[in-house]
Symmetry: C2
Subunit: 423 residues, 2 copies
């Protein structure tokens, strides 16, 4: 019998698993970044998971309706001095040269240092400003008709808290322009959409929730806010935030030139802004945390075994198939693996070349490893595959092994993935 357990050390287990199974690169600084929901060094599986997640976000936002356009804004490198943030990119060599100029008095030195720093480009801390700037060039596309939105994903720097270093975050941003009287409805609309999106990929959808931001926590410009939260073992954290921001920032960005900004939605008006900002590094952490199942079961000899499975949604799972060698490990079996791998890759099925590892482990150990990696299917090429063409396909979710002919396996897996994609 098997039962799901609420392990108090579950999160430590997850962290270790992420490092062992190529989601997160080893190193203390790195796992700390990962825990804090910051962008860290991801291993091959973490990299692919992040790609899948960003892809799904992009698709759900830009392809949900006609009026959402993707943009790419520069990280603030060519901003004018006015809009600049506190984090600046400084060429240390230039500053060194300045500090070495003996002829300057202390006052002159200070003045020159200020001049140098004011000329330095700043680093963006969010994607909102870029979208506000791109508002005007996009007006032509929609003939000044509201509502419409601008979508972007990218890295943003988060200023250091206390003595720490600034760190990067993989941000998603949808900036939605609409009329004043519809803005609160749109905030509700996008809250529902976003919550639905998070829950769609969850193993326990109820761990994802939305909650209204209390008035005392509202950001400067905002009249209303909603947070999409995830219940981590240590408490709730915000994955995505929606703000009803009014139009003051938009006006400020365009120096208050109202005629440039005017849109139509029934009557003429300056659009109001609803911003939807997500942290996809923390999103990854949430889905990984949500999908880890620890199952205890007793084997025939009454020995207590623990099975850890990363039940990531088929669409998010970074590896769909692992190719490995069952009994025997002949050169011919390897060649069959290599051929099958190329066939899978051509069909755009992300495949793990397990047969490259030459360690002799039991098939049971292999399965445990692939379960921890969250691999959907394991295909084992046995000695008899060479003669009969038959191989074993094991499912992560059912643990059932099916015998299949080598000519059928690609279609079987392709169909499974595209079915999961179309839900």
């Amino acid at each position: 019998s098997s039962s799901s357990t609420e392990d108090p050390d579950q999160f430590r287990t997850l962290l270790q698993l992420c490092v062992d199974r190529y989601y997160v690169s080893p190193g203390q600084v790195n796992t700390e970044l990962f825990q804090r929901g910051m962008c860290c060094n991801y291993g091959p599986l973490g990299t692919e998971l992040r790609r899948n997640l960003l892809d799904q976000w992009w698709r759900s936002v830009t392809r949900s309706r006609a009026q959402v356009f993707g943009i790419n804004t520069n990280s603030g490198l060519d901003r004018t001095a006015e809009g600049q943030g506190p984090l600046r990119i400084v060429d240390y060599e230039n500053l060194k040269q300045l500090l070495e100029r003996q002829e300057l008095s202390k006052e002159q030195l200070i003045q020159e240092a200020h001049l140098l720093l004011q000329r330095c480009p700043s680093v963006r801390t969010n994607l909102l400003q870029g979208a506000l700037e791109q508002f005007v060039p996009t007006l032509g596309v929609v003939s000044r008709k509201l509502p419409f939105g601008l979508a972007e994903t990218g890295l943003c720097l988060q200023p250091a808290e206390g003595s720490g270093c600034p760190a990067e975050v993989t941000q998603t941003s949808l900036v939605w322009f609409c009329s004043l009287h519809t803005s609160s409805q749109w905030l509700d609309h996008w809250t529902r959409q976003r919550l639905k999106w998070w829950r769609k990929f969850a193993l326990s959808p109820s761990d994802f929730s939305s909650s209204e931001v209390p008035p005392e926590e509202l950001e400067q410009a905002a009249s209303r806010g909603v947070r999409i939260m995830y219940s981590f073992p240590w408490g709730q954290e915000s994955l995505e935030t929606l703000w009803n921001r009014g139009n003051a920032e938009l006006l400020h960005t365009h120096q208050g030139v109202r005629s440039k900004l005017q849109c139509r939605d029934g009557r003429k008006s300056i659009p109001h802004v609803v911003s939807i900002t997500g942290n996809m590094d923390r999103g990854m952490l949430a889905f990984l945390s949500n999908s880890l199942q620890q199952l205890k079961r007793q084997d025939g000899k009454q020995k207590l075994l623990q099975r850890k499975v990363l039940k990531l949604h088929p669409v998010l799972a970074p590896v769909k198939v692992a190719l490995d060698i069952g009994k025997g490990a002949t050169m011919e079996q390897r060649q069959v693996c290599e051929g099958l791998l190329l066939e899978f890759l051509e069909a755009k099925i992300s495949t793990w070349p397990g047969y490259l590892e030459t360690l002799t482990t039991s098939l049971e150990q292999l399965n445990a490893k692939y379960d921890e990696m969250g691999v959907l299917f394991t295909v084992a090429i046995g000695e008899n595959t060479l003669e009969s063409g038959l191989l074993q396909v094991r499912s992560r979710d059912t643990t059932i092994k099916e015998t299949m002919h080598i000519s059928e396996v690609k279609n079987f897996i392709s169909k499974y993935i595209s079915a999961a994609d179309n839900i």
Copy 2:
């Protein structure tokens, strides 16, 4: 009759077209960045083109063979002081506070400023260093067996030339680890692969070429180099560079601990590194430049007309279908457009909502616009579509208009795109 022309102003035409047709956002600084092959503010079409290009690169590199693994490395924010580059991220507020400390002498001020800057994180200027650091954690995956590669895409900062500002570049990086005696063969292998890739999407493949780097231009660590070049109207520029780098940098990154780095390829050895680094912003510029056709033709009345078409490869084209309204512009026609759009988006066909623009232009003007955008097909919903279910589908490449039933058009376009994708 029509003929292709070699316009001396062709590049100025291209720049204007990119701004007018939502590839590049307006603004002088922005178009200058774009011309220099740097990352700029891209409009909706430029954003999608960059996505498609990066996607194709990722696919071609990580799915070409078993031994290429994707990674994501931090932009150098948690590097130790040793490996730091000249570009530092400074919190201006902290530095301001320091400069305002009256009690410090000039010497003390200088010393404190150095201390502050040394603690500041540096910004990465390439992806190589990250891959060299991830070499050791990846060894487990391949059981220390050569060859294998690490792939990454991301933004890197390019130090300013002269008095200019530093600018960002969308870099692609494959770092390939192999034995000394195979490294030159691998350099040749990857040169062939990469050149084939660039030419696959080109209208005039011969504009893309490869050339050996002359000995006097070799980078410090490199024993051999090859550049993939594109013939821009103003001359050749490099899109991707392949270097045979030896193993000195790898050893340096891991403090010379040879035992940690040892791999097997027949015998034990420290791997040699072949780096393949691309600039995908310049790649976009190359494909845009390569795909612009200017055709002169005389109409029935002997009037000279010029037609500009952006013949981007179907896989790269940011918009596959434009949906527009032919004769008449009733509410019902709009609703048909809206329904068809959602159907297309669901089938993952990138669609342009031309019907949102309410300007009354002739169908001829519309076609000219969509040709300049590089849209593969234009679907026009006429008045009679409502009764007969028939609509017109115009092809960018043949300019032929086909009448089709509304129930067939999605499959027709899907098939066309997937056929182009599988070549």
